[in-house]
Every structure is written in structure tokens, then in C-alpha cells.
């Protein structure tokens, strides 16, 4: 294999895999598996063979005929890839997923046919696995030797100048010397040498195989005649495809393939009257292009070349059925259908566009069979296309189906397989028949994987010994660490697991000690982890017992080792440890009885014992049942009559282990998937079909009418003198003709005894914001116009409850008038107000359009439950937040909570969230010569108890928590952690108020102050889950990651102690990640940002910037920091890195752009000033720039904390030109890093393509130099 991962590079994957439940294949299974490769496929050949025979007679058998002829059910395979990239197959006759042993790397996709399976591996190469068959894949090569007669030499190779080549093809036009023939790929071998063909049209020729003619080209005869002036001989040689039943990389003849493939689909083998063995293979590249593989047939299973198809848009996924159906999904969510696919034109001729099943939600996935098309939309809903057949490949309409799926695939006979969203189980659609193509119900395939099964009859030393330590390795190999690293990732991880354990076991001296660095990523040069590891070694066996997480916290660091953390974290294994220990004892006992203490076995059982204990620790329940990423049924021949043993595995023969595994997986099955619940959903949708679908034209019994909700409120009058005025408030809602709701809100007031009103259209409201006000329960309503004025409608409800009711109602009305529902999309723009309220806005497609973007003030913001200080997102939908108390939170994907305990929100994924913040007041004193410092100030002085500004009196008794939602949870205490330092009593000194304070008294200091703090706590609910235990002050996610659910998303954070951290295991599927990796620094840091191509920038406490070198997916933490001086006389405080551009904000509110950043020189050359009055910046995956700005002047007022958008940002103009002002003031934070929605025009280059890594040469050159400003 071309990409054998080095150990260090592979670490990230391995740590995830270590978490994974690994068990053993006993010796017996092992044997079976060795033979099993053949056994498994053997029945398939007979099936294939039968087909080929029949096809040889140019007639195709129907499925039923085939059945009749094959007495037993033909055995075929369902292929699947789990989230770790391992390929498995499940036989229709089997009850266990068998891992594809020879896949030497992880796969992303597979697409199966009956005689082969194609895949895309993690090296982005296309691989082919041709199933062995009795009919070898041979290909004949031929060349002709031509001679002409002349009177001198007789027949000789001296030809006339006008003649053909002496060695040519049959036409004579092509020069073809015998040594010019090359094997198409390493998968082929020559069967023998060249030999002459001694037949002519079935009759033997004279010796030598010469055939004669009057001249080229003419009719050749076997007999030499008087007028035969020329003769020719046909030379033959056979080549044979020799890679059967294993994965062989398809050589890419074209160096021209610009970007790697992301999706692949084969089919087309049943296009009417097609030659045997022909197949269509379609592929999608990361840039959304579609390629067709030319020339695949029985004699050329690899095909010959890729041909690019023209497209109406960018494709994300494609599906090709066995017949002539080819559908693809466009990036924008529509689908395209290939038309004109036929025997003579398997590529088809043109595309037709079909709209997404759901107008608001784009399609993400499509799967086609012979007569069916199934699709998934972004919300994971499943859709069935009516009326699809070869005459009408587009079909006629969508029908919503039950279930939520991540991907879907159609097998033979239009059977449907899918991967469930909730549990990632493989589902089979039951009841699909030719008359009922949509089937009846989803049924989860519940068979275990071969790796999950322990064999109850495992009795030998070896099988006991190699328990849990890697799967197919011979036990003695366990100790053979070095040689085994060659065996590829699957092996390697198991091995490393064992090795790690060995090195930490007290009795490890018995084992060949693998250096612990083996499992330590490169960052250990920062010495932290190696410390950790060396600390561990003397410790005696804490590993076997559940290691509490606290044990891993080292001093102040609170960081865990990456691998160890992954392996040991979450010690929820109480019960699990129980049964595993029992099993282990049994295994040991068997070993003693067997009494074969060979050295290797001994070592191996030792290490495996340790590995086992480790493995037992990391039993996440969720990992117990396989998590699937992809399934392909193209090689799987089942129909509605098939008896499949896939669904309820009998546990009678299984060992207790299997039973435990199964009961575990049962217990982790979400209640959502309970049969009764699914039954209700399915029946309700059937009821709708039955009772309503045909009667939609009937009149509704109840007409929709206007609905009015009224109440009383106070309104902050628009004109001077501003004051709170009692008003009547009403919301009128009505349904539009399409059932869409709209409304108007009215504010009725009296002015000079005259009744007047103010109104606002609900569909023009851009945001409803609760306003921090300790006296009123107030909120503000903005429209684009009001945003321009910086003067919202400010209202106050009589009680807090009423305010929340109104906000929930109004927010629901606004969302439904704009057709927005459900959780925020992955692209959403998030912002946080200074009150800690969280808002999201769904970016319009034109938000980043150049030159006319959607104006910022028209963005609609809706609130999300919870309370945070900052929130960061990325385009795969991973969202993290940090609370005021520095707690890290991850978005659960839920919707609602907190402010909207109504129907508008679901209770799914909503949790309690607590936040704590400190309220500060200052005690101020002035020195006088008589009494020293006292609380008697000068008449001109500030209040002796005040806020930080000194302008407002704040005493311990009159100070209230920030709002009614907050309650005090501590008493007032002196705060010593004030910048500038304090003396022992917390005092800071200065010459006078207000001045700069220092923590010691000098002769010139006449005033002093000290800060008191008191903690208050807020309890709310929201779609957030806490990520203990490390407190954070900043977090950043790679903004543009591949949309796959399993790809790891780089996430960097700064702990509240200033440590730089890297989160491992963050994927779209597991947004919380698994463990922290500590990145060493010389000083505390305060801000970090990871941008495109894994550029990591950070800001240290001293205000200078740092660039992290060599960060890549293989080395997620990089290797070293490059210091980058801050702009002259400025201290930076925050940084944000977009796709390529780097922006930073300093403590004086200046925004800086880093000039000269190039892939080869990622540190850039200098800072360029862009703007002042900037509080925070967020650079996005399109390099778009958004800030929170201060002092934004509106037509009526000035606002601080305003969301602003940089206009005119283009690839050639990354700094942009001017600001567009959006919602505010009172905003503290914004992130646009989820929005990778490219504007419809003026496209930027694709983001999904990985940016070229910086050339290592350039980088190493900079290691010595100070990578600073040049």
C-alpha cells in the first residue's frame, strides 16, 4: 500500500480506536476466517457463474428463475463501513459482520456489485476488490506481424514505404511492437509469452500461423497462392487480473485528476442488452465534479480512464442503479437525474434537475435502484420518489417516509438499506416488493461483528492470551512490536494499546518494553506528556481498577494525556468490569490447565491482560454496538421473501460475553427507537396517506381566522422626554394562503388625549432581545429601520413571566412568518449579548455576495436557550460555548429551552445550564495626614462604594444580582485578582481617582481602592451539555471541515489558567470530543484561533501573537510556536483566522490584518491597521470578516457592541473596504465560522479541497530565525 502511516502520524486515529471495543477472534474463528475468505465468496461464484453461463446464451435470468435453479438461497454480501473506516461484510446467510481483513487502510465509501466492490480509502485512492470466480479475468492482447514478398528474399520484413508497420494492430494503422505492450496495472500479470495464433476463422493454418493475401489490406487466406504478395501472422498473449478478493488500488493514469474523490457509485450492469460484465462507475470529487469510469467490463474490471462529465452545479453525492438510473445531489440541495442512459451510451446524455423533496430543506443524499429513488434531506428525513422507471427517470413526486437516516443505499431487487441517524445502525427496509417498492418498516440489523464475538470454546493458551489485543494477529506476534507496526492501522492500534499497557504494568519487565513514545504524539516535545508517562511508570497497577478522572489531573495543569485519556476516561464501567474480570479469570484458568507457558504466550497473556484491563476501562456503552458510516447493498441479493438471520440474533449459543454485549447495546438504544413509538409514527403517516392524501381538495371544516393576543405593557417613548408609557399591546396573527403564518403587532398609546398606535409587521422584525434592566422586565424589538436608527421599540412587561410568555409567543410568530423552525443550521451565524443571551441567524445565500451582500440589518436573529459568554461554531455544525464561569459547553443539536418553554421548542437535547458570574463593587478611600486612609473622601470624590467607573454608588446592601434570573450564591469577599496587583488586604493605590492603580503604596499615592466580588448564579435550560472538567477562556474550531460525520475537527482552546489545549476526537458526530491534549507554552495565553489549512494563531497574555508550526491532521497539536511581535505599542487581545486571512484585535480596540500570509510563509510579514473601535473579530471560512464594534452612530442614537460586517472582502481584497452595520448594541461576541455558504455569484474557490500544506523546507528554514516581522 502506498500510504502506510507512520506511528506518529497515526496517533490521532489510534487514540480513537483505542476507545473502541476490541475483542478477540479465537483460534478457531481465526482458522475459519482464513478459509472464510474463500468460503464466503465461494457460493457467490456459483451464483455469478450461473449468471455468466446464462448470459452466454444471451438471456438474462429473472431473480425468480435464478432462485428456482439454485436450490438454496444464493448467498451474497452486504458491505458496510463503520465510523472507524473499517470495512465489513454481512452474508445473507450469516449472522455476523465479518471484517474485511485485507483492507490495509480505513475506507470512506464502498459501493458493491455482485462480482466486485469498489471503495474510496482514506488516502483518497479508489480501490477495487474483485471477487474470485471460476471464470478468470483474462484479456487477450494481439499484434500482427506483416511481411511482403520480394523476388530476392521471398517473404521478409522488408516492406514497401507505403506499407503498414512491420508490427501492427489488425488494421495496420497502429505500430505495435511486441515489447510495447504494458500491463495496465500491477494487478495484472502475463499468463505466458507471446505465441502465434495458428487459427484462421477456426481452421488451422499452415505452420507458423501465416495467412496470405494479394496486398494489404485484403482478404487473407491460409493458403499461399501464386499471387500472394503479402502475409501476416497474429501474435497473442494473455494477461490475467490476479488480485482477487483483496483491495487493489486503481492506478490513476491521469495525473490530471485535480482533486480527490469523495463519493463513488457503481451500477449499470443491468442496462438492457448490455454486454456481459459491463459496469458503470461514477465518482464525485471534492470539488463537486462528476467523473465516469470508462471501459469497465469483464475483461477490464479496472476500467480504463476517468472522464469528466459536464454538470449544472456542484455535486456532493451520486448514486447509480443496476439499470439506467443515475441521480446525484447538488450542493445547493437539488437533485439531478442523468437522462439518456442506454446500452450504447452508459454515460447518458444530459442532466435534468429535480427539486429537493422539502422546499426549505435541501437534499443531502440520494440512492437509486432499478425502479426506485430514495433521498434524504438535511434534516435526515427519508423520501421516496414516486413513478420512477426507465422511461421516466425523474419520477413524479416525493413521499415522506418514516425514519431519520444518515445515508441510504439501494441493493439488488430495489431493496433498501440505510444507516440510522440516531444509533448509526444499519437498517433494512422490510417488505419491499415489486408491487410495494416503498416497503413497510425499517428494521435494524442487529448482528454482532466478528470482532465482538468471543468464542466460548476458546480453550488454547493462544486464544486466551490474545484476548482483546488486536484481531487477526497470531498471538505470538503481540510481543513482536516493531515488525508489527508494518501491519497497518487496525493492527497497529491494537498493538499500541497492548504496548502501552505493557509499559505501565508493574511486571512489564517480562515483556519487551516498547518505548512509551510510541503512543505519544509529537507534542510531547513540550514535555508535559512525557512527564505524565514517566510519572506513571512506577505506579503500581492503578490501571486495572477504574481510574477516576481526578487521578489524571496533575497539579494545576488539569490536562490529560491524549491516548491514556482516551483510553481511560469515562470510567463508567462498574458492571462491565465485573463480567470482564470473571471472563478473564476463566481465561487464565484455562491457560493454567493447558500448561503451555511458552515465552511468547506468556508475554502475550501478560500484555493482553493489561490491554484487556485497559480495554475494559474504555467501554463506552455507545461503542458496544457498531456505528456504521456507510452501507452498500449492490452486491446483496435479497428480496422480500428472503429469510434473513440479521435481526434477532439468537443468543442461545453465544457466550455470556456476547450476551452482555448485546444487552449493553440494547440498553444504549435510545427510547426513541422503541418499536411502539416507531409503530405510532408509521401508522400516523399511513393514516395521513389513507385519510387525507386523496382528499386534499376538500374544503376544511374550520376556516383559519385571525388570532389576537392582547396585553398591557410599558413602552419607552420614541420622543423626548423619553419615559416609560403605559400601552396596550396586541399581536394579530393570521394564516396566509399557503398556511404560512404572518402577523402584525400593535402598540396602542394615548398622545394628547388622542388614541394612537404604532405597529410593526412580524415578518419585518429582525430580533427580540431581552434587555438587562434591574427595574423592568424589558425587551427590545428591532426591524431593519430601527437598527439603522439604533433605536429599537423598547417594551417592559408587568411581570417576568409575562415577558417570557410574550417573548416566546413573538419569537414563535417571527420564526413561523419566516418559515424557520428546528435547530440552527450548520451554517448559522451565532452571537452573544452582554447579557449572555445567545442568538443565531441563518445566513442568506447572498450574505457574503460581492458586491451587493444582504444588508446586515436585515438579518433575522432568533434566540437559543442557554447562557454563554462566547460561542464558536464551524461549518460541520460543531458548536462550543463558554459560560461566564468559564465552563465549556457543547451544543447538543437541540432547539429551544430557557426563554421559550413552549411548543416552539422540543425538549429533546435540552438540559439544565448553570452559569456563575461575579458582581464587583469598589471600596474607595483617600489618605489624609491625620487618620491615614479613610472612607471620608473629598466632596469632589467618587462614592466611597462605587462601580468601576466611580460614577454610580454601589454598596454591599444595595447591589443586586444582574437580573431577576440571577441569585446570590456567595457573600461579598475581597477580590485579590485585580489587574495591576493588590497588597495583602486587596488594596490598590494611585495618586488620584481615576488613575492607574498598582498593588503597593508609594509616597505619592493619595487614594486607594479595593474590589469586592460576590458570586451570583443563573439556572436556565438550553441545548448545551457541559464538557468537564477544564475551564476555558477561549475556544476555536477549524471553520471549514469536510462534511463527513467522522472526520476529526481540529479544536483549540485556552484554559482559564492560560494553557493552550487541543481537543481530540471532535467530529460532527461527537462534537464534545474525547480528551484534551496540552500544548506547551512559555507563558499563559488568552486567545487562540485555528483557520484554514490548520493554521493556528494564538495571543499570549503579554499581547504578542504566536503561530503554531506544523499543525496537520496527523499532528493535531503541531510542533512549536513562532513568536510574532504585536503591532508597535499595542497589546493584542484576540485573534481570528479565516480560510487564509488572519485578523487580530488589540486592547485599544484596533483591528489588524496580517499581511503577507502565504502557504509557504504562514506567519506573514506585518500587521496592517484596518479599523478602530473594534471589540472582537471573527474571520470565517470564506475569509469573511465580522466584528463587534463600538460607537456606531445611528440616525437616532449611538450604540456600542454592534455586529458589523466587512464589505468588499474578496480573494484579491481580503481586507475589504468598509463596514455594514447590523444588530446592536449590547453585543459581546459573534462567530461567522459556520457560514461557508458561498454567495451565488462571484464564486470563491472551493473550500472543501484541502489547502496545500506549507512546504516543509520553507518551514524548517524558519525554525532558527525569529519568525517575526520582516
Amino acid at each position: 500500500m502506498p500510504t502506510r502511516r507512520t506511528r506518529a502520524a497515526g496517533n490521532q486515529w489510534e487514540s480513537t480506536e483505542q476507545r473502541h471495543f476490541r475483542c478477540h477472534v479465537g483460534e478457531i474463528n481465526y482458522d475459519v476466517n482464513i478459509g472464510g475468505t474463500q468460503l464466503r465468496f465461494r457460493p457467490l461464484f456459483s451464483d455469478c457463474h450461473l449468471l455468466t453461463e446464462q448470459r452466454g446464451r444471451s438471456r438474462r435470468l429473472t431473480v425468480d428463475e435464478r432462485k428456482r435453479q439454485v436450490p438454496a438461497m444464493p448467498v451474497s454480501l452486504l458491505w458496510a463501513v463503520d465510523v472507524y473506516g473499517r470495512v465489513y461484510s454481512l452474508s445473507t446467510a450469516g449472522q455476523v459482520w465479518e471484517q474485511c481483513r485485507d483492507a490495509q487502510m480505513e475506507f470512506k465509501r464502498v459501493t458493491a456489485a455482485q462480482r466486485c466492490c469498489w471503495g474510496i480509502a482514506c488516502d483518497n485512492g479508489v480501490y477495487l476488490n474483485v471477487h474470485a470466480s471460476d471464470l478468470p479475468v483474462r484479456c487477450q492482447e494481439e499484434a500482427y506481424e506483416n511481411q511482403r514478398w520480394n523476388p530476392v528474399d521471398g517473404f521478409s520484413d522488408r516492406l514497401l514505404p507505403s506499407d503498414r508497420w512491420q508490427w501492427s494492430d489488425v488494421t495496420g494503422l497502429q505500430h505495435q511492437p511486441l515489447d510495447g505492450f504494458r500491463l495496465p496495472s500491477v494487478s495484472w500479470e502475463w499468463e505466458g509469452d507471446w505465441h502465434a495464433d495458428e487459427n484462421l476463422d477456426g481452421e488451422p493454418t499452415e505452420k507458423g500461423g501465416w495467412t496470405y493475401a494479394i496486398d494489404f489490406p485484403a482478404t487473407y487466406t491460409k493458403d499461399k497462392k501464386w499471387n500472394s504478395c503479402v502475409r501476416r501472422k497474429r501474435w497473442l498473449r494473455y494477461r490475467r487480473y490476479n488480485v482477487m478478493d483483496s483491495w487493489a488500488k486503481i492506478p490513476s493514469q491521469q495525473a490530471a485528476l485535480p482533486d480527490p474523490f469523495s463519493d463513488i457509485s457503481c451500477g449499470g450492469w443491468e442496462i438492457s442488452d448490455e454486454p456481459r460484465g459491463r459496469m458503470s462507475l461514477w465518482a464525485v470529487s471534492l470539488q463537486g465534479k462528476v467523473w465516469f469510469r470508462e471501459g469497465i467490463d469483464h475483461h477490464n474490471p479496472e476500467g480504463s480512464s476517468w472522464e469528466e462529465m459536464t454538470l449544472p452545479g456542484e455535486v456532493v453525492q451520486i448514486s447509480c442503479g443496476p439499470g439506467d438510473l443515475v441521480w446525484a445531489v447538488l450542493w445547493e440541495g437539488q437533485l439531478i437525474v442523468r437522462e439518456g442512459v442506454s446500452r450504447d451510451c452508459p454515460k447518458g446524455t444530459s442532466w435534468a434537475v429535480v427539486d429537493s423533496p422539502s422546499p426549505e430543506v435541501g437534499a443531502t443524499h440520494v440512492a437509486v435502484g432499478i425502479n426506485v429513488v430514495w433521498a434524504l434531506t438535511k434534516d435526515n428525513k427519508v423520501w421516496f420518489r414516486r413513478g420512477v422507471n426507465s422511461h421516466n427517470p425523474c419520477g413524479s413526486g416525493w413521499i415522506g417516509m418514516v425514519g431519520e437516516m444518515l445515508m441510504i443505499n439501494i441493493g439488488l431487487n430495489d431493496q433498501v438499506f440505510a444507516v440510522g441517524r440516531e444509533d448509526r445502525a444499519v437498517y433494512f427496509r422490510q417488505g419491499v416488493t415489486s408491487s410495494e417498492l416503498s416497503g413497510k418498516t425499517w428494521r435494524a440489523v442487529t448482528v454482532p461483528r466478528d470482532g465482538d464475538r468471543s468464542h466460548s470454546s476458546a480453550s488454547s493458551v493462544q486464544s486466551a492470551g490474545c484476548y482483546f489485543c488486536g484481531e487477526e494477529r497470531a498471538p505470538s506476534a503481540v510481543s513482536d512490536v516493531e515488525s508489527d507496526t508494518e501491519k497497518g492501522s487496525t493492527d497497529g492500534s491494537g498493538l499500541l494499546l497492548a504496548a502501552a499497557a505493557v509499559s505501565t504494568e508493574p511486571s512489564a519487565d517480562a515483556a519487551p518494553t516498547d518505548p512509551p513514545e510510541a503512543r505519544v504524539p509529537k507534542v510531547t516535545s513540550d514535555s508535559f506528556i512525557s512527564d505524565l508517562v514517566s510519572d506513571r511508570e512506577p505506579a503500581t497497577a492503578p490501571w486495572g481498577a477504574a481510574v477516576p478522572e481526578e487521578d489524571l489531573v496533575l497539579g494545576e495543569e488539569e490536562v490529560r494525556a491524549p491516548c491514556a485519556g482516551a483510553a481511560i476516561s469515562s470510567s463508567q464501567s462498574g458492571g462491565l468490569g465485573q463480567w470482564s474480570n470473571v471472563d478473564l479469570e476463566e481465561a487464565q484458568g484455562q491457560r493454567d490447565q493447558a500448561g503451555a507457558p511458552a515465552d511468547s504466550a506468556d508475554t502475550c497473556s501478560l500484555s493482553s491482560l493489561a490491554a484487556y484491563a485497559l480495554a475494559a476501562e474504555d467501554q463506552y456503552g455507545a461503542d458496544q454496538h457498531p456505528l456504521w458510516a456507510w452501507v452498500s447493498g449492490g452486491g446483496c441479493s435479497v428480496d422480500s421473501h428472503s429469510q434473513l438471520g440479521w435481526f434477532n440474533c439468537s443468543t442461545t449459543n453465544a457466550s455470556p460475553l456476547v450476551q452482555s454485549v448485546q444487552s449493553m447495546s440494547l440498553s444504549v438504544t435510545p427510547a426513541q427507537t422503541a418499536a411502539w413509538r416507531r409503530q405510532i409514527f408509521e401508522q400516523l403517516s399511513e393514516r395521513t396517506k389513507r385519510e387525507m392524501d386523496n382528499f386534499r381538495h376538500y374544503e376544511q371544516a374550520v376556516e383559519q381566522s385571525v388570532w389576537v393576543k392582547k396585553g398591557t405593557m410599558q413602552w419607552w417613548r420614541d420622543w423626548r422626554p423619553h419615559k416609560w408609557t403605559d400601552v396596550h399591546f396586541a399581536l394579530e396573527q393570521f394564516s396566509g394562503p399557503e398556511g404560512d403564518k404572518d402577523g402584525i403587532l400593535f402598540i396602542y398609546y394615548n398622545f394628547n388625549e388622542e388614541k394612537k398606535y404604532l405597529h410593526a409587521f412580524i415578518n419585518e422584525v429582525t430580533i427580540l432581545v431581552p434587555v438587562l434592566n434591574d427595574a423592568k422586565h424589558s425587551f427590545a424589538i428591532y426591524s431593519p429601520e430601527r437598527t439603522k436608527q439604533r433605536w429599537p421599540i423598547r417594551l417592559a412587561a408587568p411581570t417576568e413571566q409575562e415577558m417570557h410568555d410574550w417573548l416566546a409567543l413573538l419569537s414563535d410568530a417571527c420564526c413561523s412568518s419566516r418559515g424557520i423552525q428546528g435547530p440552527p443550521s450548520k451554517q448559522a451565524v451565532w452571537s452573544v449579548t452582554c447579557k449572555g443571551d445567545i442568538f443565531v441567524s441563518e445566513p442568506s445565500p447572498g450574505l457574503e455576495a460581492v458586491p451587493y451582500p444582504t444588508p446586515c440589518d436585515q438579518m433575522f436573529w432568533r434566540q437559543v436557550g442557554g447562557h454563554l459568554r462566547l460561542v464558536e461554531s464551524n461549518s460541520v455544525g460543531v458548536v462550543w460555548g463558554i459560560g461566564y464561569d468559564h465552563t465549556a459547553w457543547v451544543h447538543t443539536g437541540g432547539d429551544g429551552g430557557g426563554f421559550s418553554q413552549g411548543l416552539a421548542s422540543s425538549t429533546d437535547n435540552i438540559y439544565t445550564q448553570v452559569d456563575v458570574k461575579s458582581v464587583y463593587i469598589y471600596e474607595n478611600q483617600r489618605w489624609n495626614p491625620v487618620t491615614g486612609y479613610t472612607n471620608r473622601g473629598l466632596p469632589t470624590d467618587r462614592y466611597m462604594w462605587s462601580d468601576a467607573s466611580g460614577l454610580h454608588e454601589c454598596t454591599k446592601t444595595n447591589m443586586k444580582p444582574p437580573s431577576a434570573q440571577w441569585t446570590w450564591v456567595s457573600d461579598w469577599a475581597i477580590d485579590y485578582g485585580v489587574s495591576g496587583g493588590t497588597d495583602r488586604d486587596g488594596w490598590q493605590y494611585a495618586a488620584d481617582f481615576p488613575a492607574s492603580y498598582h498593588g503597593y503604596k508609594t509616597l505619592k499615592d493619595f487614594v486607594r481602592r479595593r474590589r469586592w466580588s460576590r458570586k451570583s448564579k443563573l439556572t436556565t435550560t438550553g441545548p448545551w451539555q457541559e464538557i468537564p472538567p477544564i475551564s476555558l477562556i477561549d475556544v476555536s474550531l477549524l471553520p471549514c471541515a469536510a462534511p463527513s460525520g467522522v472526520d476529526v475537527v481540529p479544536l483549540w482552546a485556552i484554559s482559564n489558567k492560560g494553557d493552550v489545549l487541543c481537543r481530540l476526537g471532535v467530529t460532527a458526530l461527537t462534537p464534545a470530543g474525547s480528551s484534551w491534549l496540552h500544548v506547551g507554552t512559555d507563558q499563559p495565553f488568552k486567545s487562540v484561533s485555528v483557520g484554514g489549512a490548520s493554521q493556528v494563531w494564538a495571543i499570549a497574555k503579554d499581547g504578542s501573537a504566536f503561530y503554531r508550526g506544523s499543525v496537520s491532521p496527523q499532528s493535531p497539536a503541531g510542533d512549536c510556536w513562532y513568536h510574532i511581535p504585536s503591532p508597535a505599542r499595542q497589546k493584542l487581545k484576540q485573534v481570528s483566522v479565516g480560510r487564509t486571512s488572519v485578523f487580530a484585535v488589540d486592547e485599544n480596540g484596533n483591528l489588524w490584518y496580517r499581511q503577507g500570509v502565504t502557504p509557504s510563509y504562514p506567519q506573514g510579514s506585518s500587521w496592517e491597521h484596518i479599523s478602530n473601535n473594534v471589540r472582537k473579530v471573527s474571520a470565517g471560512p470564506l475569509d469573511q470578516v465580522w466584528i463587534i464594534a463600538d460607537k456606531v452612530q445611528g440616525s437616532l442614537s449611538l450604540s456600542c457592541g454592534t455586529v458589523c460586517h466587512r464589505l468588499g472582502v474578496q480573494p484579491v481584497e481580503p481586507k475589504g473596504q468598509s463596514w455594514d452595520y447590523g444588530i446592536g448594541g449590547g453585543w459581546d461576541h459573534i462567530t461567522v465560522r459556520g457560514n461557508s455558504t458561498e454567495p451565488p455569484r462571484a464564486r470563491l474557490p472551493s473550500l472543501t479541497a484541502p489547502a496545500p500544506p506549507a512546504p516543509p523546507a520553507a518551514r524548517s528554514a524558519e525554525v532558527n530565525g525569529s519568525a517575526g516581522e520582516c
Partner: protein
């Protein structure tokens, strides 16, 4: 899987296509065309048939018109039962649209309650809600509501406003987590084969041991005939909102999600169609 709140919407927006025809015996001035309507399953016949009334009034002389009532295949339809219950109980095996005969004469006083105005329906509906809350929360929730909340429940039903109805109704569906469910499940079991209008008894959502009671547990105690005898094909269908939930469906969940707006779980036990 879909969200549970989708079930609430499906239940609320269930519609039965119906065809109203005037009884043959009614005296008309001109021929009265049938009238087609989508009836909300969760509403009441007399609440949603103003249009039907107007339609047939046009064909009749005012003096021939008395109180309107409905009949299906000889059975007078009790307006005080939800429409969906009437359909499931009497007509679930019939061909759609549901053919309902409209009468303006000979009101069957013995079978039907008079319904002179929608305020009667409102009173009936609200008494259902109050009775259900008495069972669920000892009436605490409904008594804590304001008059306007009660009105909003009714207006929600009357105007087919799901959001407005559920904005209040969700409070009626709450329970503290320590209770694990309602005090008693408000349910009514209807049978065509029985003379009793319905079965309604006290039944808790959980067993004394703390396990959740299921629909099967309820039927076993209240109406054992509805359950299929061992080894024999089932004779009765247990229908709620036109669907047959599995007998292992937890009763508390059913009560929260498949109750009618009056907060009762209306369960129809009907013979399996013989065909």
C-alpha cells in the same frame, strides 16, 4: 426518529373526508347536493358543521328546519364524542369519504343530547378538561389557570389553532419528575358491542412496583375481551386516532401524546373487519 411533538401535530391535524347528504325524507324545495368537508378528528360534529347547515338550509324552507342531527348507517352520531371517535367506532371499515346523513327532523332525543349553541359544546369540552385534570392533577393545574387560559383552550379548538391550544394545554400535560406520570390516566374505552356508553375507571400510569403500565395492561384490566386470546387470531382492534398502537406502548406516553383536546384518551375497541 421523528420528534414526539410531531405526534401532537399529526393528532391535531387529523382529518376525515366526509360527504354529507340530506336525508331522503326531508322536504326540500330543490335538490340538495351532497356537501364534502374535511372534518377535524379532534373536534365535535356540531362545532364544525355550520357550513353544512347553511348549505342544506338553502335547499329547504325555513319552517321545515329543526335542530340538525347526523346519522351514519342508521346510528345517530353523538356530537359530544369527538369526530375521530365516532368515525373509528362506527365507520372505520367504510369507504372514504365517510358518508353522513343529515337530518333536520325527528331529533332522536333518546340517543342524542341537544346542542342549541356552541356554548353547550364549550361547556361539555371544558367539563372534559376539568374532569381529566381532576384525574391527572387533582384539578390543581386547571384551577390555577385564569379564565382567559380556559378561553384560549376553547378558542384554540374552535378555530383549529394548534399553537394557541397547546400553549396552554402543555401545562395540563406536565407532571413532576418524582411522580413519574399523572395521578390517574384519563381514558374512555368505547365498544360498539356494549350498551354502556364507555368504560372509565381509575387507572394509574405506573404499577405499584414502579414499572410503566402499558396499553395492554389497561385493556387487560378494563376490557379483557379486547385482547387477543392466547393462540387465536385477534378479534378486536384497539384504535386510537385511527391507528392501532402496539399494546406495549406506555400509557403515560399515550395520554400525553394521543389524548384528545379534552385531555381524555379515547380508545375504540371494534371488531376486526370480517373480510
Amino acid at each position: 426518529m421523528a420528534d414526539d411533538k410531531d405526534v401532537l401535530r399529526d393528532v391535531w391535524f387529523g382529518r376525515i373526508p366526509s360527504c354529507f347528504t340530506l336525508n331522503q325524507d326531508e322536504v326540500t324545495e330543490r335538490e340538495a347536493e351532497p356537501y364534502y368537508l374535511l372534518l377535524p378528528r379532534v373536534s365535535y360534529l356540531t362545532l364544525v358543521t355550520d357550513k353544512v347547515k347553511k348549505h342544506f338550509h338553502k335547499a329547504m324552507r325555513a319552517e321545515d328546519v329543526e335542530e340538525m342531527w347526523f346519522e351514519y348507517e342508521g346510528t345517530p352520531l353523538k356530537w359530544h364524542n369527538p369526530i375521530g371517535v365516532l368515525f373509528d367506532l362506527h365507520a372505520s371499515s367504510s369507504v372514504l369519504p365517510w358518508s353522513i346523513t343529515v337530518h333536520f327532523k325527528n331529533f332522536p332525543d333518546r340517543d342524542l343530547l341537544h346542542c342549541p349553541s356552541s356554548s353547550v359544546i364549550e361547556a361539555h369540552f371544558m367539563s372534559g378538561i376539568k374532569e381529566a385534570d381532576a384525574l391527572k392533577h387533582k384539578s390543581h393545574v386547571v384551577n390555577d389557570m385564569q379564565k382567559k387560559d380556559h378561553k384560549q383552550l376553547w378558542m384554540g379548538l374552535q378555530n383549529d389553532k394548534f399553537d394557541q391550544f397547546w400553549a396552554i394545554n402543555r401545562k395540563l400535560m406536565e407532571y413532576s419528575s418524582e411522580d413519574g406520570g399523572f395521578r390517574y390516566i384519563p381514558f374512555r374505552i368505547y365498544q360498539t358491542t356494549s350498551d354502556r356508553p364507555f368504560i372509565q375507571k381509575l387507572f394509574r400510569p405506573t404499577s405499584p412496583e414502579g414499572s410503566a403500565h402499558t396499553l395492554g395492561d389497561l385493556l387487560k384490566e378494563m376490557c379483557p375481551t379486547a385482547l387477543p386470546p392466547d393462540g387465536e387470531p385477534k378479534r378486536y382492534q384497539v384504535v386510537i386516532h385511527g391507528i392501532e398502537p402496539l399494546l406495549e406502548t406506555p400509557l403515560q406516553w399515550l395520554s400525553e401524546h394521543l389524548s384528545h383536546p379534552d385531555n381524555f384518551l379515547h380508545i375504540c375497541v371494534i371488531p376486526v373487519p370480517s373480510d
